[in-house]
C-alpha cells in the first residue's frame, strides 16, 4: 500500500546534526554556568541558602534591690514577607493594611519590589495583630518573634533606667551604661535553609549559641523611688516649679536608693518623646549654683584644717566688702551680730561663711572642696555625668572674689549628685565614696558580682564629720516645723541659689531652692537631696524644698523601720 518504496532517509542526518549542534549549545551553556561562572553562582546560591541568622541573646532584666523587675523582655512578633512566595501581592497588601494599620499602597510597594527577596513590614506587633495575621494563613507571610523590652512600671525611674531602642540597643541610663553586659553576645545560626526558610536537618549548619545578658540588680529601692517620685511631683505642683531633682543615697555605701527628676518619660514609649533632652538624667548632668548648702562643706573644711573651731565666734556685720569693693550682704540683709560657727549654719550667714573662707585661705579652701569631689565626676556607673563648673585659683575665670562667693555656693556650679555625695561624706564620718546604681551583676552562668563600696578618699576626720553633723542637726532642730521630722534627729542644710541667665547676670526672681542632709544624725542611713527649680510659691530652699525633704525622711524612717530617738515627739 505504500506509494513508493523508499524515502530520502539521508535527511535523517540533518536531524542528527541539528540535535548534536543543539546539544553543543546546551553543553556550552552548562560549561559557562559551571566552569566560567561556577564560583560566582556557587556563592550566590550560598547567599540564598546560608542565611546567617543572628540569634538574639536574651537581654538581662533590671531589678531593683528588692527583686522587682524594672525592665524585662516580652516576645512580640515581627511580620515579614517572602516576596517570591506571595500569590497575590495586591490581596496581601489589602489584608495586611487593615491589620497593621498602614497604607495599602505603601505595603504593596514594599512587597512588590523586584530586587528584594525579604521585606520586614512591621515590628513589635500586638498579640491581637499577630493572631489576625496568623489566621490569614497566607503563603509567604512570616511571623517571627523577637524580644521586646518592657518596663512594667512605665514612667518610673526612667532617667535611671534609660531605654532600649528599636535596634535593641540600650540608650541612656543603666540600659545604655551597661548595654554590653546586659545585652549579652548574640549567637549566630549559620543555617543551610531550604527554599521555605527552614533549616535543612542534614545540612551544614553551625550553631553558635547566644550568650544571654546579665541581670542587673540596682541599688534603687523601688519603694524609695516611688516615694521620691511622688513627693517630687507633688512638690513641683505645689510650688509651681519648673522642675526638680531628688536623690536618696546611702551615705555608708554610696549606693543610690532613689533618683528622680521631673519631668520624666515612659521608656516603653520612648519614641513618643518629643524633646531628646528628657532622656538625660538631670541628677548627674544638670549643673546649678548650690548656694548655701555649700556652707556646711566649707565649715567642715574650716574645722578639719583648724582654721576655725566649733566655738569660734566671728564678729559679724550686715555685709562684707570684697576685694574690688563689692559688698555682699546676708540674705534678706540681716545682721546677725557675732555668731558662733554653729550659728553661721543655723542662720545660713553669708558673712559668717565668708569669714571661714577667709580664715582658710585659697589653698586650704580649694584643696578641701576638691577633696569633696567638686570639679570632678563622682564616678557613678552612668554615662553623661557632668563635672560641674569649679574654677580654681590660677584658672582664667577665677577671681579673688570667688574665694568669698564660693563659701556660700556662688560662682561655681555642681551637679546634684556631686553635692549629695559630698554631704554623704560628712554623714559617714568623712569618707568620700563612689556613688553607684548597680548593686549586683548576676551573670547568666550563675556567677554573681557584688558591688563593694569604694572609698575615693578620706576627706575629713570622723571628729570633724561629727562636729559638722552636730551643727547641721542643730540647724534642722531650729527649723523643726519646716523640714525636721518630729522624734528624729536629722542633719541638713538648705540653700537658695540664683540661676545664671544667658546674659551673664542672674535670672531675675528665679531661684533654685534646695536642701541636702542626712539622717538619723547619730547613725546616718540616708542622704537626701531635694532641688526644686524656679519655685513660684516660695523662692527659699527652706520653704520650697524643705517640706519634700521632711516627707521623704518620714517615709524612709517608716519604710526601713528606723526607731525614733525621741518617741514622744513622733506625730
Amino acid at each position: 500500500m505504500d506509494a513508493v518504496n523508499d524515502i530520502p532517509r539521508s535527511r535523517i542526518i540533518i536531524l542528527l546534526v541539528a540535535f548534536i549542534l543543539f546539544s553543543m549549545a546546551v553543553g556550552y551553556r552548562v560549561f559557562s554556568f559551571q566552569i566560567v561562572h561556577g564560583l560566582d553562582l556557587t556563592e550566590q546560591a550560598q547567599q540564598f541558602r546560608f542565611r546567617e541568622d543572628v540569634v538574639p541573646a536574651e537581654r538581662g532584666d533590671i531589678l531593683d534591690r528588692r527583686g522587682r523587675k524594672l525592665a524585662t523582655n516580652v516576645p512580640a512578633d515581627r511580620i515579614s514577607v517572602i516576596v517570591h512566595q506571595l500569590d497575590d501581592p495586591d490581596d496581601t497588601a489589602r489584608e495586611l493594611a487593615q491589620i497593621i494599620n498602614r497604607d495599602e499602597d505603601e505595603i504593596l510597594e514594599a512587597i512588590s519590589h523586584p530586587d528584594r527577596e525579604w521585606v520586614v513590614l512591621q515590628r513589635r506587633l500586638s498579640p491581637e495583630a499577630s493572631q489576625q495575621v496568623e489566621s490569614l494563613d497566607m503563603e509567604g507571610i512570616v511571623l517571627d518573634p523577637e524580644p521586646r523590652r518592657t518596663y512594667p512600671m512605665g514612667n518610673f525611674a526612667s532617667q535611671v533606667l534609660g531605654f532600649v531602642n528599636f535596634d535593641y540597643e540600650g540608650s541612656y541610663g543603666v540600659e545604655g551604661a551597661y548595654h554590653s553586659l546586659i545585652a549579652g553576645e548574640p549567637g549566630h545560626l549559620i543555617g543551610e535553609r531550604d527554599g521555605a526558610g527552614n533549616v535543612i536537618a542534614l545540612g551544614h549548619s553551625t550553631w553558635d549559641p547566644a550568650q544571654d545578658g546579665a541581670d542587673l540588680v540596682l541599688s534603687i529601692d523601688s519603694s524609695v523611688q516611688r516615694i521620691v517620685e511622688e513627693v517630687l511631683r507633688e512638690t513641683i505642683e505645689d510650688m509651681d516649679a519648673s522642675g526638680g531633682t531628688i536623690i536618696v543615697q546611702n551615705p555608708q555605701t554610696g549606693a543610690i536608693l532613689g533618683m528622680a527628676s521631673h519631668p520624666g518619660y515612659d521608656p516603653n514609649e520612648f519614641n513618643q518623646v518629643q524633646d531628646a533632652q528628657l532622656f538625660g538624667n538631670p541628677a548627674i548632668s544638670n549643673v546649678y549654683e548650690p548656694g548655701s548648702t555649700m556652707k556646711a562643706l566649707v565649715m567642715a573644711i574650716g574645722l578639719e584644717t583648724g582654721a576655725v573651731a566649733a566655738d569660734t565666734v566671728h564678729p559679724g556685720g550686715p555685709y562684707r566688702e570684697l576685694p574690688g569693693g563689692e559688698r555682699v550682704y546676708n540674705a534678706t540683709l540681716m545682721d546677725f551680730g557675732p555668731e558662733s560657727m554653729t550659728e553661721v549654719l543655723v542662720h545660713s550667714s553669708n558673712v559668717g561663711a565668708m569669714y571661714v573662707a577667709e580664715q582658710l585661705g585659697e589653698d586650704d579652701l580649694y584643696r578641701g572642696l576638691t577633696a569633696f569631689g567638686f570639679g570632678d565626676q563622682t564616678g557613678i556607673d552612668l554615662s553623661g555625668e557632668e563635672s560641674g563648673l569649679f574654677p580654681l585659683p590660677g584658672d582664667p575665670n577665677w577671681y579673688l572674689t570667688n574665694l568669698y562667693t564660693n563659701s556660700f555656693g556662688q560662682g561655681m556650679a555642681v551637679t546634684p549628685l556631686q553635692l549629695i555625695n559630698a554631704i554623704s561624706a560628712v554623714g559617714n564620718g568623712g569618707q568620700l565614696l563612689t556613688p553607684y546604681l548597680v548593686e549586683e551583676i548576676r551573670h547568666p552562668d550563675g556567677q554573681v558580682e557584688q558591688t563593694e563600696p569604694e572609698v575615693i578618699r578620706d576627706v575629713i576626720s570622723p571628729e570633724t564629720a561629727q562636729a559638722v553633723n552636730q551643727m547641721m542637726t542643730t540647724t534642722v532642730d531650729s527649723a523643726q516645723r519646716v523640714y525636721g521630722v518630729p522624734g528624729y534627729q536629722i542633719a541638713a542644710k538648705t540653700g537658695t541659689a540664683q540661676i545664671p541667665g544667658v546674659d551673664g547676670g542672674y535670672e531675675p526672681g528665679a531661684t533654685i531652692g534646695s536642701i541636702v542632709g542626712f539622717g538619723p544624725s547619730d547613725d546616718p542611713q540616708f542622704s537626701v537631696l531635694v532641688k526644686i527649680d524656679r519655685p513660684q510659691e516660695s523662692q527659699w530652699g527652706e520653704r520650697a524644698a524643705g517640706p519634700a525633704f521632711q516627707e521623704i525622711f518620714e517615709e524612709l524612717f517608716l519604710l526601713y523601720g528606723i526607731p525614733p530617738s525621741d518617741p514622744d515627739q513622733v506625730r
Partner: protein, 501 residues
C-alpha cells in the same frame, strides 16, 4: 497494509515474532536498549535524590513517596517496552488511525467538557480515569507518529505535491497541535510540531513547502505566545532572566544557581542543596539542574552524551528500517525523545524559553514514562527488522535521482533480470540458516541493475519489501508487501548484498 498477515500461518501478532517463517527478526539493537536502560536507571537514582526532600516536605514525611511511584511506573513502562518490542511494528499501522482519532476525541472532550480534566498548575493536561490519571497528550505524540508514518509512507513521493502532501499534512498538524494548545501546553505543542515536521522532512517533503509550513506555524506560535500574558512573561523571562525573581524567574534563577554550583565534578550524588525547596519541580522539569549540581559538568555531559548516543542509534535504526513506514516511525520516536529532552534541557539552562515538559526516561515518570518506554519498544522492534545499510544506501541513491528522471527511467526498456539468488551467507543468525527457506521465483519484471557491484554470492535470499510484488504469494514473506504506488509499480527493484552481520 491489508496483506500484512494474510499470508501468515497464524493470526496472532505475537506469533509473527516468534514463529514467522521469515525468521528475520533478530536481536534488537542492544546499544539502544542499553542506552535506554542506563537512562532509566540513572533517572531513577536522580528522581530519588531530587524528590526525597519534596516527599518529606509535601507527602507527609515520606521521602520514598516519589521513588516508589516512579519505580512502579518504570516497571509498567519496561513491561510495555518488552511487549511492544515483540509486536511487529506493522501492527501499529492498523491501529494508528483509530487510535489517533480516539486521542483527538479525548483532547477535544477535555476542551469541551473541562470537568473531566481538572486544572493543575494553570493547565488541564490530565484526565482522571478511576485511580489513574492519564495525560492524553502523551498518547497524542505516539498516535501522531504512528499515523503520520503510515500516511506519509503511503503517499510516497506525492508528499511533494502541494495538494496531496502539504495541505493534508498541515490540516492534520494544525488540528492536533491546536487541540494541545487549547489545554494549554506550549511545550508539547512545539514538540508535536517538531516531530511532525521532522517526519515530513524525512518522508521527502518539498523543502519549500516545509519552510512555508514551518514559518506559518512559527508565526502562529509567536502570535499566541505574545498575546497570552503568561507566555509573554516566559519569553520576557528568557530574554531577561535576572529581571524577575518571582515564579518562573525564580525557578530559572534557582536552576542556574544549581547548575552553577555543580562545577566540574558536582557537589556529590544526593548532596544537592538547591533541591531543598529552592528549585521548584526538582524531580520533574528541573531534574537536569539537580543532575548538573550533584554530578557537575561530568553528569550533565553524561546526560547529553546519552541523548546524542540515543539519537545516533535511534536514527541508525531509522536508516536501516526495512520499509518507509518503519523508517518514519523510528524517525518520529527518536525525534520525539531528543526534542523533548532538548526542550527541557534547553529551557532549564535558559538556552531557549522554558516550557515545563519532562526529560524522557530521566524525569519523574507517570504516563510520560510509560508511553515513552512503549515507544522505545516499538523502536526496538524496528531495530530487530533492520536491513543492511548498503541496501538503504542503494535505495537512497535511487532516490537521489529526480522524480522526473526516475519516471524517464521507468519508461526505458527493461534491463535484464538479475541472476538467481543464492543462499545467504553463513554469518546470518541461526533462524535464517542458508537454505532454510526456498528461493522465491521472481516474476518477470523490469529491473534496474544495482549501481553497486554486487556479486551473485552476496545476494540476500530474503527480498526486501520493495522487491515484493503483490501478485506472487510467498509463504516465506511475513512482512507486508508493497503494493506499489503510482511511481513504484513495475519499477525498479534492487537486489541488496547479504547482510554483514
Amino acid at each position: 497494509m491489508s496483506s500484512m498477515s494474510a499470508n501468515r500461518g497464524s493470526t496472532s501478532i505475537f506469533k509473527t515474532v516468534s514463529s514467522t517463517a521469515r525468521g528475520a527478526l533478530r536481536q534488537p539493537d542492544y546499544w539502544l536498549l542499553t542506552i535506554i536502560l542506563i537512562m532509566v536507571m540513572f533517572g531513577t537514582i536522580m528522581v530519588f535524590s531530587s524528590s526525597f526532600a519534596i516527599g518529606v516536605r509535601e507527602e507527609g514525611g515520606d521521602g520514598y513517596y516519589f521513588l516508589t511511584r516512579h519505580v512502579v511506573y518504570l516497571m509498567i513502562g519496561l513491561a510495555g517496552m518488552l511487549i511492544a518490542m515483540s509486536i511487529d511494528y506493522h501492527f501499529w499501522r492498523k491501529v494508528a488511525l483509530p487510535g489517533l482519532l480516539i486521542v483527538m476525541l479525548v483532547l477535544l472532550g477535555m476542551v469541551v467538557f473541562p470537568s473531566i480534566a481538572p486544572e493543575v498548575w494553570g493547565a488541564s493536561r490530565w484526565v482522571q480515569i478511576g485511580p489513574v490519571s492519564l495525560q492524553p497528550s502523551e498518547f497524542a505524540k505516539l498516535g501522531l507518529i504512528l499515523y503520520l508514518a503510515s500516511w506519509l509512507a503511503s503517499k510516497g513521493m506525492r508528499v511533494r505535491e502541494f495538494n496531496y502532501g502539504l495541505i493534508p499534512f498541515a490540516v492534520l498538524m494544525g488540528l492536533l497541535v491546536g487541540l494541545i494548545m487549547l489545554q494549554p501546553d506550549l511545550g508539547t505543542s512545539m514538540l508535536l510540531a517538531a516531530i511532525g515536521l521532522s517526519m515530513f522532512l524525512v518522508a521527502g517533503a518539498n523543502l519549500f513547502h516545509l519552510g512555508l509550513v514551518t514559518s506559518i506555524g512559527g508565526a502562529v506560535f509567536l502570535a499566541l505566545a505574545l498575546t497570552t500574558a503568561y507566555r509573554r512573561d516566559r519569553i520576557l523571562v528568557f530574554l531577561n532572566p535576572d529581571g524577575d525573581l518571582r515564579n518562573l524567574g525564580w525557578q530559572l534563577a534557582q536552576a542556574k544557581l544549581a547548575i552553577g554550583s555543580g562545577g566540574l565534578f558536582g557537589v556529590g550524588l544526593g548532596a544537592s542543596y538547591q533541591k531543598f525547596a529552592w528549585l521548584p519541580a526538582a524531580h520533574h522539569d528541573a531534574i537536569f539542574a539537580v543532575i548538573a549540581e550533584e554530578l557537575g559538568l561530568i553528569g550533565a555531559g553524561f546526560v547529553l552524551m546519552l541523548f546524542i548516543m540515543f539519537a545516533w542509534r535511534g536514527y541508525r535504526v531509522a536508516m536501516r528500517a526495512p520499509d518507509s513506514y518503519g523508517a518514519l516511525v523510528a524517525v518520529g520516536i527518536v525525534t520525539w525523545m531528543i526534542v523533548q529532552a532538548a526542550i527541557n534541557i534547553g529551557g532549564i539552562t535558559t538556552t531557549i524559553p522554558f516550557t515545563g515538559i519532562p526529560i524522557p526516561f530521566i524525569s519523574y515518570g507517570g504516563t510520560s514514562l510509560i508511553v515513552s518506554l512503549v515507544a522505545i519498544g516499538i523502536l526496538l522492534n524496528i531495530s530487530r527488522q533492520t536491513v543492511d545499510p548498503v541496501e538503504v544506501k542503494v535505495r537512497s541513491n535511487l532516490r537521489g535521482v529526480s522524480t522526473r528522471a526516475r519516471q524517464r527511467q521507468a519508461a526505458q526498456p527493461a534491463p535484464p533480470p538479475p541472476a538467481p539468488r543464492q543462499p545467504r551467507a553463513p554469518r546470518t543468525p541461526a533462524p535464517s540458516k542458508p537454505g532454510a527457506r526456498p528461493v522465491p521465483e521472481w516474476p518477470e519484471r523490469p529491473r534496474v541493475p544495482s549501481p553497486v557491484a554486487i556479486g551473485p554470492d552476496d545476494r540476500d535470499p530474503v527480498p526486501t519489501p520493495r522487491e515484493r510484488q503483490p501478485a506472487p504469494k510467498r509463504e516465506i514473506q511475513g512482512r507486508p508487501t508493497t503494493t506499489g504506488g503510482t511511481f513504484g509499480r513495475g519499477r525498479a527493484s534492487v537486489s541488496p548484498r547479504g547482510r554483514r552481520r
